[in-house]
């Protein structure tokens, strides 16, 4: 096999592996227009890792930050972000009640459960989330919604966070989910 052939094979394998990974992902998002507002339904299977559960049960509060960006996709020019929406949740464990609580920092809605799975399920399925007003959208152009999700432990000094190279970092940034605002 020549060097050129090896390189082509390498690229093909890389592309194939990347596509398989994306296909395996259970992340999903869709948007729809209703009464002049674009809403989104998102399925984002959020699951705390073992060390995160340990941290949660130790008394650390976790913030789940969902950052939506509505981006105008333009040909031959740089894409333009036309709107951003933040959805933040706080998850903590109360050792006294032995229950986990989930607080939506934006709406103030609170949910408690003895099962962490139930909390995870609640955040994993977000429905009817208002994203952007229709008046800001030009129907002739193309738009995409990008969702980046961060899971961060709170009340850890920044410097201590920077020291986490000594041990595994309890913070995670989830894979970006993207979908078209409309077809």
């Amino acid at each position: 096999m020549t060097k050129k052939q090896t390189l082509i094979l390498f690229f093909l394998v890389t592309m194939f592996v990347g596509k398989t990974y994306a296909q395996d992902s259970n992340n999903y998002g869709e948007s729809y227009l209703e009464q002049g507002v674009y809403y989104s339904n998102i399925r984002l299977p959020i699951s705390f890792r073992e060390d995160q559960v340990e941290a949660l049960n130790s008394g650390l509060t976790f913030e789940i930050d969902l950052r939506f960006s509505i981006v105008n996709i333009r040909s031959w020019r740089l894409d333009r972000t036309i709107g951003e929406v933040d959805q933040k949740y706080l998850v903590r464990y109360n050792a006294f009640t032995r229950r986990y609580s989930l607080l939506n920092s934006i709406t103030g809605r609170e949910l408690s459960s003895s099962s962490l799975n139930e909390i995870e399920l609640e955040i994993s399925n977000i429905e009817q989330l208002p994203l952007i007003d229709d008046s800001l959208i030009n129907i002739d152009e193309s738009y995409k919604v990008f969702l980046v999700t961060y899971v961060r432990a709170q009340n850890i000094p920044r410097w201590m966070q920077s020291l986490t190279f000594w041990r595994e970092n309890v913070d995670t940034e989830m894979e970006t989910v993207e979908w078209k605002l409309f077809e």
């Binding site: 340990e54 008394g59 050792a95 006294f96 607080l103 139930e118 920044r158 920077s162 000594w166």
Partner: protein, 578 residues
């Protein structure tokens, strides 16, 4: 050779500023640690400042050490001494700093271990369980209350009314009747206005169905601690789907507050326990930063200090070498004013004086010997040929022989001056009246020359303990010099003052001789007391050196300076008692 030195003042200032900045930031870090939020905010920038200072200092120290090592390898002048001194001083600081670091780290780790002692954790857990058991009683009571209401609902048509009455009777926050699909049938709440009932989950419904009741202690940021109970309603109506009654009850506020406190403490302890390792590392890293800064500062200081100490010694070595190459008239750089520099300067002066004394002694000996035969020969020639020569030739002979005799006298005076300079003192101390000696000396000199004005002012007791002959010599030399300096002045004035003074806890009589002559050239002023320094056309250049020598023999002090307006002032401090 010089160790790496920061050439420009601005670079030195930057290093100094960084040092100050890093010390300040470390202090700020220390104080900010008391306030976690402030600490969190300030930590990173402060650490960046410290890291930057550390890097700059590390670079400077590395370059200095490299330079010292290179000079050492090349066996440059003073390199060995500088390297040894820098190593010694650095060693003196490095060892204690390292020891402090090791012990501080150990104590800190032990302190943290004690802090996270298992007994503390056990105690906190027990407090939590104790609190929970207190809550359990209330929870059981509320299960009983809710079950009673569920029973009372059987066969009642106006359920809403019954729920309201029951809720008020048992002080419930909310009573809710719902089916297994979470459809609300009826509810009663103490909250006025729009209210979204808090629904149970399907899991909770299932548990209530199988176990005939479900209850839980719950907490929320708005309501504090609450008890939630779910009871299935049996035989409500045989043809209907099963129904469930949910009751929500507030916990006694006092209990709620205590539970909150216990839970918060437990959670805080849990957080700290979870973060124990990062906390440990962060403290060690801060300590390491401080230690590294201290260490580098100490090494930098040691190198600088060694350099300052070695520089005058180095200069001495250089000058000694140049002396051996017959360059006797050297001057040390006067940049440093520490003891080592003073010592080196004194040493060089002593060396110079010794050299001059030796030269003077040899000259006196070598020149003096042929002078007598020359003088005698000239006189003999004059005597023998006086009768044989005619008047005109005799006149020439007389003039020539007289010149020889006169010049021999001049040479003899010069030899005498050299002899005096080289002479080892054999002093005979007695109590003298300095003012009287001054007056006598001035009287004697004014007999030959009365063209100048003399102003004399004696204040207080001027008695000193000294060798009278040597002091007379001092006065003669000083006044002769002063008179010579006034030769070309129109209105020459000499002012002589004496008065007793205490200088550095020692009693002196100070003599001040001031003139309005031409003063000293600025380049000659510093070396006025060195041999062969003279502004006169004639003279040995030994007048003032001899004066200084005698004053030093008498443990006195001497100084000379140009007056602001005109002329010069010479001050001599005569020790009152030897």
């Amino acid at each position: 050779m010089e160790a790496i030195r920061i050439k420009s003042n601005s670079a030195k200032k930057i290093i100094f500023l960084l040092i100050i900045l890093s010390i300040s930031s470390l202090l700020a870090l220390m104080f900010a640690a008391d306030n976690p939020n402030e600490f969190n905010r300030m930590q990173l920038p402060l650490l960046v400042i410290n890291g930057l200072s550390l890097l700059v200092l590390f670079g400077v120290v590395t370059l200095s050490v490299k330079k010292i090592l290179m000079d050492y390898k090349k066996s440059k002048l003073g390199a060995r001494l500088r390297a040894r001194m820098a190593l010694a001083f650095s060693g003196l600081s490095v060892l204690p700093v390292l020891l402090v670091f090791i012990f501080a780290t150990d104590f800190m780790n032990k302190g943290l271990d004690i802090w996270f002692d298992a007994d503390v954790e056990g105690g906190l857990r027990n407090a939590l369980l104790l609190g929970r058991s207190a809550m359990d009683d209330q929870e059981q009571k509320r299960v009983f209350d809710t079950a009673n209401i569920a029973l009372s609902l059987n066969g009642i048509e106006d359920i809403d009314e019954q729920l309201n009455r029951s809720r008020e009777a048992i002080s419930a926050k909310q009573l809710l009747l719902l089916d297994q699909n979470l459809q609300v049938i009826a509810f009663s709440t103490e909250t006025i206005g729009l209210f979204a009932p808090q629904l149970p989950s399907l899991v909770e419904i299932n548990i209530a169905q199988t176990q005939q009741s479900w209850s839980s202690l719950d907490s929320s940021s708005s309501d504090g601690y609450t008890i939630r109970v779910l009871i299935p309603i049996l035989n409500f109506a045989s043809n209907q789907t099963p129904l469930y009654l949910q009751g929500i009850y507030a916990v006694d506020p006092r209990l709620s507050m205590m539970a909150d406190s216990v839970e918060e403490t437990y959670a805080r302890y849990g957080r700290m326990s979870f973060l124990k390792i990062p906390i440990q590392y962060s403290y060690i890293l801060t300590l390491l930063l401080v230690v590294m800064l201290a260490l580098l500062l100490a090494i930098y200081g040691a190198i600088e200090f060694a350099d300052r100490l070695v520089r005058p010694i180095e200069a001495l070595e250089k000058k000694t070498r140049s002396t051996s190459e017959s360059n006797l008239m050297f001057n040390l750089p006067r940049s440093d004013s520490d003891e080592i520099s003073a010592l080196v300067e004194s040493f060089i002066k002593a060396e110079k004086e010794a050299a001059w004394s030796d030269v003077a002694r040899r000259m006196a000996h070598e020149i003096n010997n042929p002078l007598t035969p020359i003088q005698l020969s000239a006189e003999r020639i004059k005597k023998r040929y006086a009768s044989a020569f005619k008047e005109e030739e005799l006149d020439f002979l007389n003039k020539s022989t007289d010149t020889i005799v006169n010049q021999v006298e001049v040479l003899r005076d010069m030899v005498s001056a050299f002899g005096n300079f080289a002479k080892q003192p054999q002093l005979s101390f007695e109590v003298l009246d300095l003012s009287q000696l001054i007056d006598e000396s001035l009287d004697f000199l004014s007999r030959d020359n009365d063209l100048y004005e003399v102003v004399v002012e004696h204040k207080g007791d001027a008695s000193i303990e000294a060798d009278i002959k040597r002091i007379r010599q001092v006065l003669n030399n000083v006044f002769t010099n002063t008179i010579d300096a006034l030769q070309k002045e129109n209105n020459p004035v000499i002012t002589v003052k004496t008065e007793p003074v205490i200088h550095q806890s020692t009693a002196y009589v100070v003599m001040e001789v001031k003139d309005n002559g031409h003063g000293f050239d600025s380049d000659l002023l510093d070396s006025a007391f060195e041999p062969y320094t003279t502004t006169k056309n004639k003279g040995t250049g030994l007048g003032l050196p001899i004066v200084k020598k005698i004053i030093e023999e008498h443990k006195g002090l001497i100084s000379i300076k140009n007056n602001k307006e005109k002329g010069a002032t010479l001050k001599i401090f005569f020790l009152k008692k030897q």
